[in-house]
Amino acid sequence: MARIKQRAIELLSDGTVMRVIGWEKGEGNCDWSPALFENAAEMENFVYGDYAGANLSKYCLKFNRQEGKTLVVLKPCDTLSFRQLLHEHRIDREKFYVIGAGCKGMKDEKGGLLKCSACKGKEFEVYDEIIDDEEAQKTTALMDRMAGVIELEKMTAQERFDFWRGELSRCIRCNACRNVCPACSCIKCVFDNPASGVQSKAPVTDFEENMFHIIRAYHVAGRCTDCGECSRVCPQNIPLHLLNRKFIKDMNELYGDYQAGVGENERTPLTSYTKEDAEPGIVYERGNA
């Protein structure tokens, strides 16, 4: 932490950047939240370490059109979201100074984060410099990322339906999942837009939450980097990552392995057409399998 902090203060002082997006301590010991630092004095509260789970890339949206550069501290998996936002032309690379921060897996008050148990590796997709204070080992994922999806796939359609109805019935529509999601970055979300017809439609039946989540999952399909933030922030502990991972697994199987936010290619499997693409009938065939 010390080196990141020191470097950030340096860059602030020499005018390279005008602000820093990082973390600060909250009320509890384990409760660190994203914060903005605009000068060396404010940087006193900057922290990095075990509880810096939050993915800061989405906050870049706010500063893209502002004067000067913004420093953002990103963990390896956070850089995928950053890259995806670059692909979608939502942020400009030259507006940000990215410090890649080494990470050996994050925690909260209950222990290791769920998203970290399926760690996608320690490579930085985008960075200006890497500061590996933590001397993070090349840790391997603790579990197969798709294990939960495979369990769901084994269920009958009715069991699966019941499972999701059960899970989603707990949703209180606090919108935390959407608000934290770096893919859910629309200037005006359809669910906040009375004219969209979607917003008014959702609340009329008990299918509301399901509708919300299904629509959201479709909107982020192909763009979701599986950063795991939605499940992390959900106060109702709904396993939203399973929904997104199902899409990822299907896309991998139908169009070849793909990780959103990796590489230079802006096209996702769902926004590119090749002659080898699966025909739409595949949905029917799989449904019958």
Partner: protein, 663 residues
Amino acid sequence: MQKIGVFVCWCGSNIAGTVDVEAVSEAMKSVPGVVYSANYQYMCSAAGQKLIADAIHEHHLDGIVVASCSPRMHENTFRKTAEAAGLNPYMVEIANIREQCSWIHKDKEEGTAKAIVLARTAVAKLLHNKPLQAGTSAVTKRALVIGGGIAGIQTALDVADAGYEVDIVEQRPTIGGRMAQLDKTFPTLDCSACILTPKMVEASQNEKINIISYAKVEKVDGFVGNFKATIRKKARFVDETKCTGCSLCMSKCPSKKGKDEFNMEMNNRPAIYIPFAQAIPNVAVIDPEQCLKLKTGKCGLCEKVCTAGAINYKQQDELIEREYGAIVVATGFKPIDPSPLNEYGYADNADVITSLELERLMNAAGPTKGTLLRPSDLQHPHEIVFIQCVGSRCDENTKRGKPYCSKICCMYTAKHAMLIRDKYPDTKVHVFYIDVRTPGKNFDEFYRRAVEQYGVDYIKGMVGKVAKEGDKLMVRGSDLINNQQVEIAADLVVLATAIEPDPTARSIGTMLTASMDTNDFFTEAHAKLRPVESPTAGIFLSGVAQGPKDVPETVAQASAAAAKVIGLLAKDHLVTNPCVAYSNELLCNGCSQCEKVCPYGAITYIEKEVRGPGVREVRRIAQVNPAVCQGCGACTVTCPSGAMDLKGFANKQIMAEVDAICL
């Protein structure tokens, strides 16, 4: 509140037979927004249209729903009716209660219930319709013909004759296509070259026709009337403007191991060659795989002997960009490779040949100078077996060949049999067939002549095995009429192999977004009524690219395609479809997802100051070029925020339709 009229058509008994039309028009009366509802025997008739026009005037309707056949049939008719009666033509919705209802239901009660839902759905959509104005776009008065076989040549000649420019892009070094490889042609048995080459010459001499040979179309952008094609003209290492076609270079070239494609690779040709004597353009081409100079840097003999100074080893591919109003696909066919069909032993026996190879063996410019000699030992064959339907008419599940009939094989096999019997009367000729199919003017007479006059032995049945024994080919098959197995010791076996579209057809189809069937033949806009148009506007079909056919049929279709092209190029402006996409700049993220899925490249981006309630900032915004947009709607469903919408098929309209069906 809008005033909507609903008009339910009986279509004689086509609809009224399975849909209670009276009940449908009655039910519509209670649908919110509907102020008038009627039914009539034929809405598309003059009387039916008058009924609509009168109702529009009398009830001051501001929109109409016609519950009738598919919009593909009469949407235009009713739009014109409405327009004449003072309504905006886009305030017309069609409920398809024929193709999507009466024709697919047997039970009248079910059919009626569904027709009511479909009509109600159309009303729900219409309540959100807005009047739209069609724009116009200019037409580039030039046509592109892809493929220079007889089909492409004929289309080009006819279009040029009407005074329009035509470019023929041909992938091979010469135009002519398969017909150039044929010896004689049925049913008149005139020499193929004698009737084809005058047309080739005519094309090359026509000022309006520009032949771009040894080239391929790499990219096509744009839309009907305004296509833009990128054509790659491959380096032939010979300057077309200088080469006189003297062929001196060919005789001097020391590399002689190139396979002569024109002669079905039955003999070799030099690295520098002119495919055949009457090639157009009559210009040599260097095969870079065979040329010693290009491969090793040593040789250069052709450059030394060429008096015209036409050789240029440094020539590069050339990219040509041109605009066209119409595109004709005339990519033709190739015979399938029969090697995988083991029973015929094609891969293992030199004396098992395809019919196209036989054409070359009988042709004076062929590898044997026109004397029929079998490939293995160059002896006269005395007993010849023809096998028809090789790889045609196969059970799709066995994946052993094509499911379709190749159409031309019965006739050319009769032709071959007859020509051989005529020239070599000492030769016995047998033909194994499943059916002999010879409809067509003078065709059956032609086949009967083969049997009756020339004594060709036709055996109904399939061949099970062709095996080499000594210098004979033992052909075992069944004779279904005499119900016995037969075995013939043949000197030569000729396979009437199925034909399939040129291997490049699929990529051309994708490039043009022209639809194809599962066999890669291009599909027509309507199997009966629009046989030479592709469903994609501005794309026309000519020759075997659309389906197997012989020369007379190819030429007829080629001229038909030309007529359609001329009809298009004769227009100065085209009315554009106003149902195009547009983005709401207050909602647009500038994320480029729509641009990536747009198959027509209609979407671009600008940086723009966006102003709205509480908003004033510069943003990256999607913009649709309405002249390029085809209204496919791909962008609207990709856009997460709903910024992209389609006029005439707005998200709201679609949602209203879904609601009307589900609620």
